[in-house]
């Protein structure tokens, strides 16, 4: 169901979501995206370059975060702008459980042309992993 601009206010919260990520998730994402940097699948390599563990692709985290918006509006084409800063990596331990990316979002501004700015908050292990994370979305 499309979200109507007139029914949205500054502060309206989008339904929050949690996205689990395991080593298998990262291998699959590496294949689909073509990003085979070994820091995303080779623990020995990741440790050698000073990382705490294998880390998730930043673009994977970015892809998960916007799902909170696209699931809210229904049509992904409603997203007209989307930007993030990669502030902190998401370590993904090889323990069969992995990590969880928690994403919440709220309407921060109502703009012209039935567009709104949505600010996103993405955390993992209690730490913020994306900064300046916002989307501009055209509503019905």
């Amino acid at each position: 169901m499309a979200i109507n601009y007139d029914e949205v206010e500054v502060g309206t919260e989008l339904p929050a979501q949690s996205f689990p990520v395991t080593r298998a998730t990262l291998v699959r994402y590496a294949g689909a995206s073509g990003d085979f940097n070994p820091i995303h699948w080779n623990e020995k390599f990741a440790l050698e370059v000073g990382l705490p563990d294998v880390i998730a692709h930043g673009m994977f985290t970015m892809a998960e975060a916007i799902r909170v918006v696209t699931d809210w509006v229904g049509d992904p084409a409603a997203v007209v702008e989307y930007g993030v800063r990669f502030t902190r990596p998401v370590p993904v331990p090889n323990d069969g459980v992995g990590a969880v990316i928690e994403v919440s979002a709220k309407v921060a501004k109502k703009l012209e042309d039935r567009r709104v700015q949505v600010d996103l908050l993405a955390t993992s292990g209690g730490q913020k992993v994306l900064g300046m994370s916002r989307a501009v979305v055209r509503l019905a």
């Binding site: 998730t25 995206s33 673009m59 892809a63 998960e64 799902r67 696209t70 992904p76 930007g83 993030v84």
Partner: protein, 152 residues
């Protein structure tokens, strides 16, 4: 050694067309765990007004990043890619990428600056379809960590 700011504004020739396949979009949607039917079901996409299945918002990054390889590998610029991390990423869409698109990317170096000894490089990829119409702009900031920090 700091990157030469005179490279700001340098443009690279548009890439050869990348043909967007339905199955590539499906593979990507599965990889990010996103079951939105607009990515996999042409009828569902058409019901939303699209000609064919569309791609998730971050899908164009792979195409733009491949094009940015021209900058990363430009011997005159001399970027040490082994020290590079992705600082931030922005997209501005005219429309979603869709199956059947033949996309070219024209890359420009928008900015080069030095921040706490790190080189910060902003690369813009203008993604256009086969008719030359704008589809999406992908702006990536790449941070090349200072050499003395890399050995930590």
């Amino acid at each position: 050694m700091a990157l030469d700011p005179s490279f700001i504004g340098r443009s690279y020739p548009p890439t050869d067309p990348y043909e967007v396949g339905r199955e590539k979009i499906r593979e990507f949607a599965i990889a990010i765990g996103d079951a939105n039917p607009a990515y996999t079901d042409a009828e569902a996409a058409k019901a939303l007004g699209h000609q064919d299945v569309i791609a998730p918002p971050t899908f164009p990054f792979a195409i733009a990043f491949q094009a940015a390889g021209q900058v990363v590998e430009d011997p005159e610029l001399g970027l040490d890619y082994s020290r590079v991390v992705h600082g931030d990423q922005k997209f501005r869409y005219s429309r979603p990428v869709r199956a059947g698109d033949r996309l070219t990317v024209a890359v420009t170096i928008d900015n080069i600056k030095s921040l706490a000894g790190n080189d910060v490089l902003t690369v813009r990829g203008e993604v256009a379809d086969e008719t030359g119409e704008h589809v999406v702009t992908a702006i990536m900031t790449l941070v090349a960590r200072a050499a003395d920090e890399a050995g930590e």
